[in-house]
C-alpha cells in the first residue's frame, strides 16, 4: 500500500510521561516518527503536539484511534489534507571567511532568514518556513561548510477561524459535532 506523509496534531494533558505514552504507541506499530514538536497552548495544562509520520492511510488512522484512547490525549486529528500553515525553525551554524561572509548574508536575505550570531569563522543562521524552504537554504549553505544544524520539526495550524483541535469547555456536556471546515482565505499569504 502506498505510504504518505501524515501530519497529526494532538492536544494532550501537560503531565509527566505523556510524550512517552504517545511515542510508544507509534513504536508498537513500527512507525518511525519523522518529527515531533511539543509546546504549550492557549489553555493552561494542555500541550500541543505536531507529529509527522510516514505510513499508509489505514495504519495511520488505526494509530490515531489508539492515541485518541490514551486518557491524557484530549484530542488528536489528522490534518494532512486540511488547508494549513506549517512551519519549522532551524538554526544553522555555517563556516564563513571574510570572502564568503557577504555572499552568505545575501542568500540569508533572499530567504528572509536572520543572522543571529557571528564569530570570526562562522555565522549562525535562523530560518523559519516549511520544510522545502528550510531544506533549500540548508542545501545552499552546505557549499560553505555546515558545522551544526538544529531543526525543531514541523508545527502546523489549520487556516480559518475554527480549528479541529478546539475543545469544549470542561464539564460542558454536549453532543460532539463536526467543527466547520476552515474557510479558504481569499488570498493565501505566500508560504515563504
Amino acid at each position: 500500500m502506498a505510504t504518505t506523509k501524515h501530519t497529526l496534531v494532538a492536544l494532550v494533558e501537560d503531565r509527566p510521561g505523556v510524550l512517552n505514552r504517545v511515542s510508544s504507541l507509534f513504536r508498537r506499530r513500527n512507525f518511525n516518527i519523522e518529527s515531533i514538536a511539543v509546546g504549550h497552548t492557549e489553555q493552561p495544562n494542555l500541550s500541543r503536539m505536531t507529529i509527522i509520520v510516514e505510513g499508509d492511510d489505514a495504519k495511520v488512522e488505526q494509530v490515531r484511534k489508539q492515541l485518541d484512547k490514551v486518557v491524557d490525549v484530549v484530542k488528536i486529528v489528522d490534518i494532512t489534507s486540511d488547508d494549513k500553515v506549517a512551519r519549522e525553525l532551524a538554526l544553522v551554524k555555517v563556516k564563513s571567511t571574510a570572502s564568503t561572509r557577504s555572499e552568505i548574508i545575501q542568500i540569508v536575505d533572499i530567504f528572509r532568514a536572520n543572522i543571529v550570531d557571528v564569530s570570526s569563522d562562522s555565522l549562525m543562521v535562523e530560518v523559519t518556513g516549511d520544510e522545502e524552504k528550510v531544506g533549500s537554504l540548508v542545501d545552499l549553505l552546505r557549499g560553505f561548510g555546515i558545522r551544526e544544524i538544529a531543526r525543531t520539526g514541523r508545527i502546523a495550524l489549520t487556516r480559518g477561524a475554527v480549528g479541529p483541535l478546539q475543545v469544549e469547555e470542561p464539564r460542558e456536556v454536549k453532543v460532539p459535532k463536526q467543527p466547520p471546515k476552515p474557510p479558504l482565505e481569499a488570498e493565501s499569504p505566500p508560504d515563504w
Binding site: Q66, D68, V71, V74
Partner: protein
C-alpha cells in the same frame, strides 16, 4: 481531617465499594499493610505469588462486573503482576492494581526493589499513575476506578511511593471525575443504527457474532430480543460464550479455530453479519482475507479503535452494546429465515462437531460433559489455556449468563486456579469449577495454599494427559509428531493436594467419573480431582494456522487419529 496516604487509600477504596483485595506484602507497602486492620470492611486475601493476585482480581472482575483489586510491593512484587495485568488488558477486564514504590527521594536511583512499573505497564494498562503527593491520592483512586470500569473496561495501575503512604493530607473524596481526554461514547449514532436496521431487515442469510462486550454490557435480554425478533442464528466468540443460552434454538455455537464447523460455515456464507461487542480476533476469523467473503458487516463496539481494525466494516456503530441494541431492536421487523436455518441445520447434521467418540478409555471430553451433567449447567467454569479450555468451551453448555471465565486474548496458562479463586470470592453462592490442564496448573499451583488458608470452595478438575496437550497436538498435526519438550512427568497431584490439606481423588476409570464429581460437589470446601485421561486426544475441529474458517480439520472418522 488529616489522614495518612495509606488511610486515604483505604477510605477511597471503601468509597468505591471494594470488599476484597488480593495481595502480597513487602517493604514498600508495609505502611499500607499496617493500616489495613483499621478497615475491617476490606477483606484481604493473601496469595502466594503476585501473579495469582492479579489473576484473582481479574477473575473477580469478570465474575462480578465490578473492579477487582490487587496489591503488590515495589520491584519484583510489581513485575510479578505484569502477566495478570496484560491478561486483564487483552480481555477488557476492570482490574485496579496497586503497587508500592520506593520512597520519593530514592526514585531514579536504582534503589532496592525499585522498578519503573508505570513505564513497564504502559502498553498493557488502560491508564496508570505514579502518585507523588498524598493530596492527589483520592482523586487518582476515583479516576482509576472510573477508567477501569467504564467504556471498554481495562486494568489501571496506581504506583504509590512508600513515604506517600505515610504522608499526611486532607481527605476529600471527589464526587465526580473530570477527564477531558476520556469520554466514552455510550449511545450509537441514530443514522448508523437506522442503516443497520435496514440491512438486517433485508438480510437473507444473517448471523449474529456476539462477543464478551455483550456480557460486559449485560445486554443478555437485548441480544435475545434481537435474535428472536429477526430470527437470526447466534454464534458467539470464545469469550462471548455465556452471553446467549447455548441450548436456545437460535444458538449455533461459537466460531473460530476450534469453533463448531457449522458455525464457521454459517459465518462464511452469511450475507449480513451483526458483530456485537467483539473484535475480530485472528483466532476467531481464521485468515482474514477469506473471512466471510459475501457478508456486509454491522459492527457494534464501544471502542472506536476496534472498528475497521481487522476487517472492513459496512456499518460502524460506536456505543455501549446494551444502549445500541435497545435502539436497534425498535427498528427491527419480525421475520423468518427458514431456508437459511435449514441450511445451517444441514451443516450441523453433516459436521457434528461435538460428538464424543466411543471408547473404553477415559476421554477428556467425557469428563467435561459429566461435569455439565452433574452440575446441570449451574456452575461457573474457569479454565486454563489449551486443550482443557477448548474442551470446556465445547462440551459444557453455557446457559447461565456469564458462566465461562477464560483467558482468551493473552492465552495465559496458570490463569485457571487464581482466576477461579477470584470468581468464587466474587460469587460465593455459585459452584465454581476450575478446569485445569496438568501443565498450566503447575504454573500457579502455589495458590492451593491460598485456597486452603481462606477455605475457598473451588472444585478443581485437572485434565491430566501428561503433556502440554495443545502444543503436542500442533506437533502431531503440523510438525510430524515430533514431540519436543511437550511431555511432562508431573507430580502426584493427590499428594500435593493433601500437603495443602485439600481433599483429592484420582480418577482413571470412566465409570468413576460421575461419582467423583458428585463427591466433590457434596464436599463443602475445596476439592481436587485428578482425571488421568487419554494422552493423545486431540481438539477437533481445528482450523490450521493460515487457513480459512471453512478449511477446518474435523475429527477423523470413525476412530481416532493414526497412532
Amino acid at each position: 481531617m488529616k489522614k495518612t496516604g495509606a488511610q486515604i487509600l483505604c477510605e477511597s477504596l471503601c468509597r468505591e465499594g471494594v470488599e476484597v483485595i488480593f495481595g502480597f506484602p513487602g517493604g514498600a507497602v508495609l505502611p499500607l499493610y499496617d493500616t489495613l486492620p483499621q478497615y475491617p470492611k476490606i477483606r484481604h486475601i493473601l496469595v502466594r505469588h503476585e501473579q495469582g493476585a492479579a489473576h484473582a482480581a481479574d477473575g473477580y472482575a469478570r465474575a462480578t462486573g465490578k473492579a477487582g483489586v490487587c496489591l503488590a510491593t515495589s520491584g519484583p512484587g510489581a513485575t510479578n503482576l505484569v502477566t495478570g495485568i496484560a491478561n486483564a488488558c487483552l480481555d477488557s477486564s476492570p482490574v485496579v492494581a496497586i503497587t508500592g514504590q520506593v520512597a520519593r527521594s530514592f526514585i531514579g536511583k536504582d534503589a532496592f526493589q525499585e522498578i519503573d512499573i508505570t513505564g513497564i505497564t504502559l502498553p498493557i494498562t488502560k491508564h496508570n499513575y505514579l502518585v507523588l503527593d498524598a493530596k492527589e491520592l483520592a482523586k487518582v483512586v476515583k479516576e482509576a476506578f472510573y477508567i477501569a470500569q467504564t467504556g471498554r473496561p481495562g486494568p489501571v495501575l496506581i504506583d504509590i511511593p512508600r513515604d506517600v503512604f505515610q504522608q499526611e493530607a486532607e481527605f476529600v473524596y471527589p464526587d465526580k471525575v473530570n477527564l477531558p481526554g476520556y469520554k466514552p461514547t455510550l449511545f450509537g449514532h441514530p443514522t448508523q443504527i437506522k442503516r443497520a436496521a435496514e440491512m438486517i431487515n433485508a438480510a437473507e442469510r444473517p448471523v449474529i457474532i456476539a462477543g464478551r462486550g455483550v456480557i460486559i454490557s449485560k445486554a443478555f435480554a437485548e441480544l435475545r430480543e434481537l435474535a428472536e425478533k429477526a430470527q437470526i442464528p447466534v454464534i458467539t466468540t470464545l469469550l462471548g460464550i455465556g452471553c446467549f443460552p447455548e441450548t436456545h434454538v437460535l444458538s449455533f455455537g461459537w466460531l473460530g479455530m476450534h469453533g463448531m464447523a457449522y458455525a464457521n460455515r454459517a459465518v462464511h456464507n452469511a450475507d449480513v453479519i451483526v458483530a456485537i461487542g467483539m473484535r475480530f480476533d485472528d483466532r476467531a476469523t481464521g485468515v482474514v482475507s477469506s473471512f466471510a467473503p459475501q457478508a456486509r458487516i454491522v459492527h457494534i463496539d464501544i471502542d472506536p479503535a476496534e472498528i475497521g481494525k481487522n476487517v472492513r466494516v459496512d456499518v460502524p456503530i460506536v456505543g455501549d452494546v446494551k444502549n445500541v441494541l435497545e435502539a436497534l431492536n425498535q427498528q427491527i421487523v419480525p421475520r423468518e429465515h427458514l431456508d437459511w436455518f435449514n441450511q445451517v441445520d444441514k451443516w450441523r447434521d453433516e459436521h457434528p462437531a461435538l460428538l464424543i467418540r466411543e471408547s473404553e478409555a477415559l476421554l477428556p471430553q467425557y469428563v467435561i460433559r459429566q461435569i455439565y451433567e452433574v452440575t446441570q449447567g449451574d456452575a461457573i467454569v474457569v479454565t486454563g489455556v489449551g486443550q482443557n479450555q477448548m474442551w470446556s468451551a465445547q462440551f459444557f453448555f453455557y446457559d447461565k449468563p456469564n458462566s465461562l471465565i477464560s483467558s482468551g486474548g493473552l492465552g495465559t496458562m496458570g490463569f485457571e486456579l487464581p482466576g477461579a479463586i477470584g470468581a468464587k470470592v466474587g460469587r460465593p453462592d455459585e459452584t465454581v469449577w476450575c478446569v485445569a490442564g496438568d501443565g498450566g496448573f503447575q504454573m500457579t499451583i502455589q495458590e492451593l495454599a491460598t485456597i486452603a488458608q481462606e477455605n475457598i470452595a473451588v472444585k478443581i478438575a485437572i485434565i491430566n494427559n501428561g503433556c502440554l496437550g495443545m502444543v503436542r497436538q500442533w506437533q502431531q498435526l503440523f510438525y510430524e509428531r515430533r514431540y519436543v519438550h511437550t511431555l511432562l512427568s508431573g507430580p502426584d497431584f493427590i499428594k500435593i493436594a493433601e500437603a495443602y490439606r485439600i481433599p483429592a481423588l484420582r480418577v482413571t476409570d470412566k465409570k468413576l467419573v460421575v461419582s467423583a464429581i458428585e463427591k466433590a460437589m457434596d464436599h463443602e470446601g475445596p476439592f481436587l480431582i485428578d482425571f488421568v485421561v487419554e494422552p493423545e486426544e486431540n481438539v477437533f475441529p481445528i482450523v490450521p494456522p493460515g487457513a480459512a474458517l471453512v478449511q477446518a480439520i474435523e475429527m477423523p472418522k470413525p476412530e481416532k487419529v493414526k497412532p
